[in-house]
Symmetry: C2
Subunit: 429 residues, 2 copies
């Protein structure tokens, strides 16, 4: 390293974790455009939720450092190169995925203020404002907390210990990649931005997939990495859409229709591989049973909670009932995957449907067993829309351990959506 | 990296493997001084011997590249800093280990010419000249061949594959280090220069030992690394002394005395922990049986062939017979060690004698299973004195697979030294 670089590096007050507004998941931008078009004036609050209470974030992470990182994110603006990429690139085979109107708005966007307060050994971190603005906090906020927690653990390790730890992590990931090569037909995308160990590590993981899996690696949800490495940006939509639409519903009848309203809006905007149903927000069984027929014509379904094989079987049965050919349909698994689970599901469903995988935390943050007291094991941190125009949001999912919202609202949603008993699954990440 | 460094790096025609005359084993310098004092005019031939015939060195290594590396070594001179270190440093607790006369000679030394010829798929590489000069070829010649073979294999690997391979190698070594921590009393030195994977890798391995083993790591045989890292330089003497002394013997009676003559010369020069017997050149049993009583007063013994536990038991029995207290004696194991063997021998002999280990190839070159077709596994390459003043040298050792010399001479030596049946041990490295 030359002396100028070294001196320049010393000028940084902090080492910024998120350095770009497109260091986020692609589906956030797709949803943001949809929200910008359909619900731009909705007031939404996003809140950090640490489902792993045994990880005392406020003891591990210095509040000042956290504020510096969040302030740095508020200083970011879309760069000219990023804007050019979003405007000019082809996404899912489509030119001009992002409208000039949306891009004009995005180019002027600064992320809104955050509210941070220490409560016991956890942080209360919330973002209130217009939906299209606050929704873009979710991914960078999670990435910052995950990485600051990692840095806190690494601070107590020696230089050499750290070097060996990364060597081990590389070895571990590469062994997963080699394992995955057993099925050349498998298709996997990186979905690991939000709970990544760090940006550089995620980038390395993407490189490992690229080098090791060839055409089995179909792209990354991270826009910045997709741009830098000229990869496909991958993603469609998430629970926040039905959660907010549902919270805005005036009565039970409107509530029952809210999830379909989301997809009706989506149907107008997107086609092909972007028409992916996320059915589990208020229970997959009921959602599919009551779904309008045009939804069965969509390209596929994403299974993000509950037992994944059961979810896929449910979808296959539903397509058959609606006269669709499941072998033409796409099933995307994206919940708690590791390479053994990926291979198992692939072998189980390949041929019966088209299968694809969104591999998240255990791709970009599998440091289990690699640091003292397992201090770098990923944990279950989320950042969710908790209210919309003053009304609380609710998520049920196919796993009661992932449910969220006020108890009385959960009860009401269960009644409206006809959700009965559910099988609980342990939530690891 | 700054642009000047990068451009400067491009100016190198080759990437030199050996960049210093003290990038060699410490015992070579001790022996060199002894030879310089006692036998400086002896003409000796050193020759490369690849005991692993399945490794076709001449197919793997380009002759031009090999010549460039050897020529580069001939261009090296002792630097002022190296000379200062050898003159001023304390070795084995002693100041001025190297005499002004020897240092004056060493400062003007250029390694003598080499003779290189391709024979089938192997190289014939020999060094002829005055003993103190040619003996210094052994270690760099071996290091060059081992590393060029490694480079040839790495040439066909991708950047990423190489990165993962080193990550694996680091993980593997660190696991050995962690395993060794089970016995805080164990004492280990790096003896891995000659068959190291590369200089940088050896240096990393030394660092791993240093970081991971603390006081269990007692130093390195590599003078350059000892100097750079301010570590103890470790080593005493080797088979070349008795082999050449024996070859010079005029008759059978002189031959029988030659190994003791070596140690008598050594006795005059060194004391304490440098008085280490290497008894196996012509069979440990006979050597100890016929040894003069003053030898039993030496500090310890190095076990470098045969079954190591048997060798140590033989030594212990011998010390007892000679009225010595084995618990005050040092046994240094240095043959084919890996961490499990080290722990096993330590547990077996700690308390009965003082135990120490010279860990070589499987410390600095354990890439087994890490490259395609196991192309980086270390193999059994040696560079030995094969003749002295025209007479062939002979080595028997305690392992018939390590014997060398003309058949009729081997028979004569066996008779003179009373060597009977020996147990063959597989030679891996």
């Amino acid at each position: 390293m030359d002396i100028a670089t070294r001196v320049w590096n010393h000028k940084w007050k902090i080492d910024p974790i998120v350095r770009s507004l497109i260091d986020t998941d692609f589906y956030k931008l797709l949803m943001c455009q949809s929200v910008f078009r359909n619900k731009r004036d909705t007031n939404v609050t996003f809140s950090l939720i640490n489902r792993s209470k045994h990880v005392p974030l406020a003891n591990l992470i210095d509040e000042g450092e956290l504020r510096e990182q969040l302030d740095h994110i508020r200083s970011l603006r879309l760069t000219r190169g990023e804007s050019t990429w979003l405007r000019g690139n082809t996404f899912y085979g489509k030119r001009q995925m992002f409208t000039p109107e949306f891009m004009g708005w995005f180019e002027n966007l600064q992320l809104p203020p955050y509210h941070l307060e220490r409560v016991g050994d956890q942080y209360e971190l919330t973002f209130e404002g217009k939906w299209p603005e606050v929704m873009l906090w979710e991914i960078p906020a999670l990435a910052v907390l995950m990485e600051l927690r990692g840095r806190a653990v690494l601070k107590d390790m020696g230089r050499f210990e750290i070097q060996v730890m990364y060597a081990r992590a590389m070895t571990k990931l590469w062994e997963k990649v080699e394992h995955l090569r057993a099925e050349p037909g498998v298709r996997i995308a990186d979905f690991g931005t939000r709970r990544r160990h760090s940006f550089l590590w995620q980038d390395w993981c993407v490189q490992a997939m690229l080098e090791g899996l060839g055409s089995s690696f179909v792209g990354t949800s991270n826009c910045l990495i997709a741009k830098n490495r000229d990869l496909e940006a991958i993603g469609t939509n998430a629970h926040e859409l039905p959660m907010v639409y549902a919270a805005l519903a005036k009565d039970d009848a409107a509530l029952a229709q809210a999830p379909y309203e989301v997809l009706a809006d989506w149907h107008e905007e997107h086609e092909g591989n972007l028409r992916i149903i996320l059915p589990d927000t208020y229970g997959t069984e009921g959602f599919l049973r009551n779904a309008p027929d045009w939804l069965a014509g969509w390209t596929g379904i994403r299974i993000d909670s509950g037992d994944p094989a059961t979810g896929a079987e449910t979808a296959i049965r539903w397509w058959k009932e609606r006269g669709e050919d499941p072998t033409k349909k796409l099933v995307i698994f994206s919940d708690g995957l590791d390479e053994t689970k990926i291979l198992e599901l692939y072998r189980q469903f390949n041929g019966r449907v088209r299968v694809s995988f969104g591999w998240g935390t255990l791709l970009t943050n599998d440091f289990r067993g690699l640091a003292p007291n397992d201090g770098l094991a990923a944990f279950s941190l989320v950042c969710k829309a908790v209210s919309a125009n003053g009304a609380p949001t609710v998520k049920l999912s196919d796993n009661p351990n992932k449910a969220m919202g006020p108890a009385e609202e959960i009860a009401r949603y269960k009644r409206v959506f006809g959700v009965g008993d559910q099988v609980a699954q342990e939530v690891i990440v």
